[in-house]
């Protein structure tokens, strides 16, 4: 492999889920895709890297701040949904069940990884509240860290007189009951809530 190919393989390998073999395969595919593809990809990568930033209001990834979700006048401003990461926001958007605003924390509280409130967009969240917001929906994950993060936020928000709710959890999104493993199913049953 040439030096330039090695350099690209080395960079691609830093991406999640990409090992040496996959990186090599991607470089080969790139070279076989015709003369225009490589430069077009390089331009697209540069543009994304230069333009995309977290939204100064909600933390969503965007080229303009505030982002199009924050700026959209049709969104319901009384509802604010708190998620850990941008893919969580995208998953909720894809459900078409929610028309309120978002706040992306950037992760969950994780003392074992050195992530405390200062490493997350917690102060930014508090600065937005209460404003027009009536209800905050805590949609952090059902993991230990996600649950602890929800409890932490509930406490930090308690003085604001807002309605604070937590999304139901247990069975993973799209999980057909028969395919969920017995352990997960058991935990979901044990964690049932009264309706």
């Amino acid at each position: 492999m040439s030096e330039s190919m090695k350099r690209l393989v080395g960079l691609l390998r830093q991406l999640p889920g990409v090992g040496e073999k996959t990186a090599q395969r991607l470089v080969m595919a790139l070279l076989n895709a015709g003369p225009d593809f490589g430069p077009a990809l390089a331009d697209a990568v540069r543009e994304v890297a230069e333009r995309v930033r977290p939204c100064g209001v909600c933390g969503n990834l965007t080229e303009e701040s505030p982002c199009e979700l924050c700026a959209d006048p049709r969104r319901e401003r009384g509802l604010l949904c708190v998620v850990e990461r941008v893919p969580d926001l995208l998953a909720i958007e894809a459900s078409h069940e929610y028309r309120g605003l978002y706040h992306v924390l950037g992760g969950s509280l994780s003392p074992l990884d050195g992530v405390g409130p200062d490493e997350l967009r917690v102060e930014g969240l508090l600065a937005r509240l209460p404003g027009e917001v009536r209800e905050v929906i805590l949609a952090t994950s059902a993991s230990v860290e996600g649950e602890a993060t929800a409890l932490y936020l509930k406490r930090r928000l308690s003085a604001l007189g807002l309605k604070v709710t937590r999304i139901a959890s247990g069975i993973p999104v799209g999980g057909e009951l028969e395919y969920v493993d017995r352990g997960t199913l058991g935990r979901a049953l044990a964690g049932r809530r009264e309706l």
């Binding site: 074992l112 230990v144 993060t149 932490y152 352990g183 935990r187």
Partner: protein, 362 residues
Amino acid sequence: MIVRSLQLEGFRNLATQSVELGAGLNLLHGDNGQGKTNALEAIHLLSSLRSFRACRLREIIGHGLARAELRAQLTVGRAPLALRLVLEPGGRRTWLGERPARDPAEFLGQLQAVAFTPDDLAMVKGAPAQRRRFLDRAAFLLQPAHLLLARDFSLALRARNRLLRTGRFQPEELSAFSETLARLGAELTARRRACVERLGPAFQRVCGELLGRPAAAGLGLQAGWREAGGERGLLGELQAGLERDRRRGATGVGPQLDDLELGLDGQPARRFASQGQQRTLAVALLLALVDEVVGGGAEQPVLLLDDVSSELDAGNRRRLFERVGALAGQVLVTTTDAGLLGELRGAARVFEVRDGRLLARQ
């Protein structure tokens, strides 16, 4: 559940080979250091993804080799299932049939095995951690959800302890992890207690059978917190102990201090049981678990008994093997004692283990 065959490659001193096991009692006979324990360890590893020896996974790879691979063909119910595990210095990989396992939890439930090893002699008199490990494994076999709960609890505990040690946290942050810990902890101890209550009568019965006399044997759970208070109570205890916990940098109350108590003839076995009685009690605990799993309508886990009969007198040994031989499911027993071969002839499939090879005797 039956392990029909086992393929070994690069696993400790064991030669590359395929072993066809019998559906009932399998006896592995051979001198010391030939690979009997290693063969049991291989099955246990496929079951729990950890060795029953205290060791790193990479120490299992045969000296001078780059990787180890285990495959097993199981019969679960009536369906065949193939498991595959590859160990490399970088980590392990698992497959169910041809498909990589989604996560360790999916792989773990498949081959169910329980093991008695000489280390289990310390079950009765040793540190509580070993008894908690047994209890969690037992609870998992009786109710699979226990595994995820125990993991979540341990994660929450380590997180809280880390906050306490660094000392840099917002009060709401520590409260959040304390609340999480209390919720998981209350459920964990409750499940352990339910497990102990199920095992107790079976333990009493099996002890009597192994000792050849009616024995007042019992199990109890000594909780590491005041259980009557429930989740709220545990949270209160965590809050009350905060200063002490901060000084120590560790959480001083909760299920991480639960202990399983074994009693014999109305006395705590930890204080009074003889060497031979300790062995009998530890084996009885395992057999009681097997009975309860089967009694609950599940298949019998594969029972692995390593050097179980040494130090037992003739009567105890005979009763033990009668009891084990009467099990409907699969059992693997190792021994250096040629005398056992005579006692069990006909009932068992016998393997001679020599220099890393298991040779079936006709």
